[in-house]
């Protein structure tokens, strides 16, 4: 039996065009053996939620460097919940001031990755959270 690949949606919500990080993460996660879908720029939160559900992803990673992270993340988290997809692991990366991290956690974000995070940390964190959600696969 082969382990089902973890599916990750890397998404750029809002207007922020700084996509170096998102693209590098998308490439890196693909190399780490995940199925990666990259949303491209300027996605509405609705289209991100729709893509997450249609693509049946385990993880949604939002990349935001524009300061709009609270509004946008809250919308995605609420949308996923409303669609019954609250088991999807929500991650946020980008320029996130330390003082906003507790709020993001309250919203339901599992991990917040700011500048200087290694790709390996992201990979390990995804494995940890996804396997935590599906205990049957743990230890495989």
């Amino acid at each position: 039996m082969t382990e089902k690949k973890i599916r990750v949606l890397v998404a750029k919500p809002g207007l922020d065009g700084h996509d170096r990080g998102a693209k590098v993460i998308a490439y890196s996660l693909r190399d780490a053996g995940f199925e990666v879908i990259y949303s491209g720029l300027r996605q509405t939160t609705d289209s991100i939620i729709r893509a997450a559900i249609q693509e049946d992803v385990d993880v949604v990673g939002l990349s935001i460097l524009s300061g709009a992270h609270l509004t946008l993340t809250r919308r995605v988290a609420e949308g996923l919940k409303a669609q019954g997809a609250d088991e999807v692991v929500l991650l946020v990366g980008g320029v996130i001031p330390d003082e906003d991290i507790p709020t993001l956690r309250e919203i339901g974000v599992k991990e917040i990755f700011t500048s200087g995070t290694s790709v390996n940390q992201v990979v390990e964190s995804i494995k940890k959270h996804v396997h935590h959600n599906s205990p049957k696969e743990a230890g495989q």
């Binding site: 809002g14 922020d16 065009g17 693209k23 998308a26 524009s66 509004t71 320029v95 290694s118």
Partner: protein
Amino acid sequence: MSDQYEKIRKKRQKWQEKTVKKALERFPYLKEAPSRFYTPLDTPDFDFLTQVGFPGEYPFTASIYPFDPRAGTAKLAARSKAGSGLTRASGYSGYGTPEDTRDYYKQNIERGGRQGPNLAMDLVTQCGYDSDNPLMAGEVGKVGVAIDTLRDMEIIYEPYQGELNLDRIASNFTINGPAIYLIAMYAALAENRGIPLDKLQATPQNDILKEYIARGAYIFPPKPAMRLFRDTLVFINQHMPRMNITSMGGYHIREAGATRIQDLAFSMAIACAYIQTGIDTGLEVDAFAPRFTFNAMGGSMEFLQEIAFQRAARRMYARILKERYGAKNPRSMLLREQMTAHIGPSSTTKQRPLNNLTRAVLGAVAGTLSGGPPSAFPPYDEPLGLGWSREAQQLSQDVSRILTCEAKLLEVEDPFAGSYCMEAMTDEIEKEAWAELKKLDKMGGIVAAIEKGYVQREVTRSAYDHQKKIANGDVQIVGVNCFTGEHELEVQTTRLVPHPYDPDRRARAEERQIASLKEVKKNRDNKDVKKLLTELKQQALQEEVNLVHHLIVCAKAYVTLQEVCDVFRDVFGEYDPPSIF
């Protein structure tokens, strides 16, 4: 000479076999010397007049100017009231609503500031939308000021009257996708104040091509976007002779992950596309090229290479203008930048952030050694959040002052000129960039290469390669992937001076801007707006029509930015980027 070279060659071989080899025996883990020594053999064809020349003269390798006036006036500047006389443009700024930004500039003026606004605009504006568009919630007034209509420009410029009126100050606008309408708004503002357009001084970024490669604030596909560029070029050329046409940015491309060579080659290819656009309208290159400028190019910690890069870039741009486009006016050939070598924001780290000041100082020194002002850019708290603290900005500014007044680094132009190492590196960078530029020529130029997705993929690949090198330790970043042991002290800083932008105002900026846009829409002649938009569409459909004239009329009627851009979206379509995989 060849006798001399032969002697050096023999001597170098002997040095390798004896001195170097003997030293290597003491370090068994080294297979070869980890450093390099340059000799005249590395620059065998070096000709001073062809490759360097004099500062301010072709090919401008040493500098685009014969000297830096700041070297002599530093003492004066230090005594001046504002104390900041080492910089010309005011700092990149724009907060929340036009009212908030106006108040910021008012304070600046009260403190003795005499520079015009250097406007940062929010992403809603940069992407051609209005503040009341429900999809924009959360973005209005973030990372810059919201501009929807001419009313907003009127508010921002309220403090600029009398001896600081529009004919006395210079403005900067970081705007690309909808630059044509912002230029039209500025023209409308001036005309409404009775100021002739030929008195206006401003620099719009107006560099749409790099938006497809970096930054991502594009709206329309590249071809119609180039038509809008053409219209601005022709209009500015005819009516606003003191205004720059474009301020191109290689540094954005570098920040997006491009290598040094890609930064140079893609920037030059972009410049070629804009120049060709001007020539295709029937203009002589010397009629407009003197008002092409660069925001900045370069940006990395590699000190010597970044100095060489600036020298190579100046020479390459001059050669392109002279040899490719037949420019005769030396001013056309100047690669004008607001700063030369610097470290680039992506070199800064969130870990032990004061190290960023050390890094920025190195960049500033490289700046002075590469024909530019010392720019300790960015302020050290760049990665700590959005917006720099006053403390960090003060320290950055003091770096420039210390390097100028105390270290006297501006007193010699291009001190590395003639250095075997520097000349060899400069030649190598220019040679490789020409090879990449010619590759782009074969693809049909940068616009075609962007349409194919070639440039975007190349930059993404470079960014990914770099990240892999950070992961495996080939690229070392102190405090991030090395020297992170438990005995290191994680030095933190405190920033106590309050940010000029009041957090309560910031929190309500979006709501206030939406209300004020509603008011404008209510009070304008909406019938007229509808008529103007219909006419705009007709004009947009005719490729040969210059749209700026009509857009000035639209601006005066308070047509919104999104109303204009929606007409263009309808006629031109929207840019759909290629897949990254």
